[in-house]
Symmetry: C2
Subunit: 256 residues, 2 copies
């Protein structure tokens, strides 16, 4: 590959459905020599001659980022793939952490971030418009931050009356965190507040459940679930089947 001009694109594959992958990302994958990412995401890219797929384990983000930067510096055309959007709790931050700490020459590499449909936007679309007004987005995993910071953010988000989207609510390794998060939210928002569990949206395993904080159980979420909690203004429209959930565009100030 020497002599060629390499590049690195950090791309979002969207939540799962082919129809939610942007043409920009498809074009990058068609030109790539190497695809790098967490095994199940790399497997979403079809094999073809001239393309090497480098799948790695979860929690190996920095090693994977360095590998991708090194290959691009050596003239490869590298796409690092994330599920959803690469900038939301995914590989883009890891790449820039590795870039800042790594070889100075990497700073002149041709690097682009290609946005994708995040799990939050896909889940929101499936439900209606739960994020139709001001909202926040919190990673509930305490792998990379202290639990106390998560809890502080939950309380302040409730006080701000944001709608909330939660990534990585629950894993086998830390089932107790989400139980505690539900307790904090129940105290802060009351038992009637709407909560939504949107699992694997746009895939064959999709399932969606609308309930209240009073009825919510920790087991309703796993690592493939995007959880959303409404603001005080979020409403539910009954219909046959799954209700719609939306947050109106206007706020009266009763939240103050």
């Amino acid at each position: 590959m020497n002599g060629c001009r390499g590049w690195l694109k950090i791309a979002g594959l969207g939540p799962g459905a082919e129809a939610l992958i942007t043409p920009e990302v498809s074009a990058a994958l068609a030109e790539a020599t190497d695809v790098v990412g967490y095994v199940p995401y790399v497997e979403r890219v079809s094999p073809r001659p001239g393309l090497t797929r480098h799948g790695s384990d979860n929690r190996e983000e920095i090693g994977r980022a360095e590998q991708a930067l090194r290959m691009a510096a050596n003239g490869h055309r590298v796409v690092v793939v994330s599920s959803g959007d690469p900038g939301v709790f995914a590989m883009a931050a890891a790449i820039f952490e590795a870039l800042e700490a790594g070889e100075p020459a990497w700073r002149s590499l041709d690097i682009q971030v290609l946005p994708g449909i995040s799990a939050m936007l896909a889940a929101s679309a499936r439900l209606g418009a739960p994020l139709g007004h001001d909202f926040c987005c919190i990673n509930l995993s305490d792998n990379l931050k202290p639990w106390a910071l998560i809890e502080k953010r939950l309380r302040l988000a409730a006080e701000a009356d944001f709608a909330m989207a939660f990534y990585n609510p629950r894993s086998r390794a830390r089932p107790e965190g989400f139980t505690r998060a539900l307790q904090v939210l129940r105290e802060a928002c009351g038992p009637q507040r709407l909560i939504v569990f949107a699992r694997a949206v746009s895939t064959p395993e999709e399932s969606v459940r609308v309930t209240t904080l009073g009825e919510a159980q920790p087991e309703m979420a796993d690592m493939r679930t995007l959880v959303m909690v409404g603001s005080s203004q979020t409403r539910r429209i009954e219909r046959d089947g799954q209700p719609w959930v939306y947050t109106p565009r206007s706020a009266s100030g009763s939240e103050l």
Copy 2:
């Protein structure tokens, strides 16, 4: 159109570039009989025989939503278009407001929300990964909520140490709001905090500026600008040209 089964799809056109429109949205537009939306967004859909484009003025969201629901109920295949994602400060919430207040029969209509690349995700991708850790998203327009609520949310977001994305920072009709928002943020976050102005990302008019709250001027934003303010952890990587901006995935708890 009588006898046909109508439908309503509420679709996001992404931030501007064709390559950022999902295949799902393109397919919906190809099947539509009617496209409804704010004039500049409707004009992004190419005319063709069999397609009627209904452009309307800004601030006419509810009238537009009712028109779309009525046409779908009459058997039309209607796509309501928003820029970015329809669920983020766009038409999806307006449609569900009109649906809840409108004719009961509308609740059995075939309605789908088709997500799009939001301005926030596109701007974040262009900069690096400024939203790579917990963040919030606030509409700075006080057309539909009291200014005091915006200011309260800014203060709580700063206390939570969220990265922040701001929609609709400034219009000719209300230039003073953004001036005030910058003051509040400067008080709460200090003058060294990073701020980014990302205008019309992915269009020919794109421009991006990275500066600090101390240096920021209200005139750096207009209604086509997505403004982002970093958390206390957000970093800047210098390189030739535009610096990268990213928020690391980990937080030590020094924010507590």
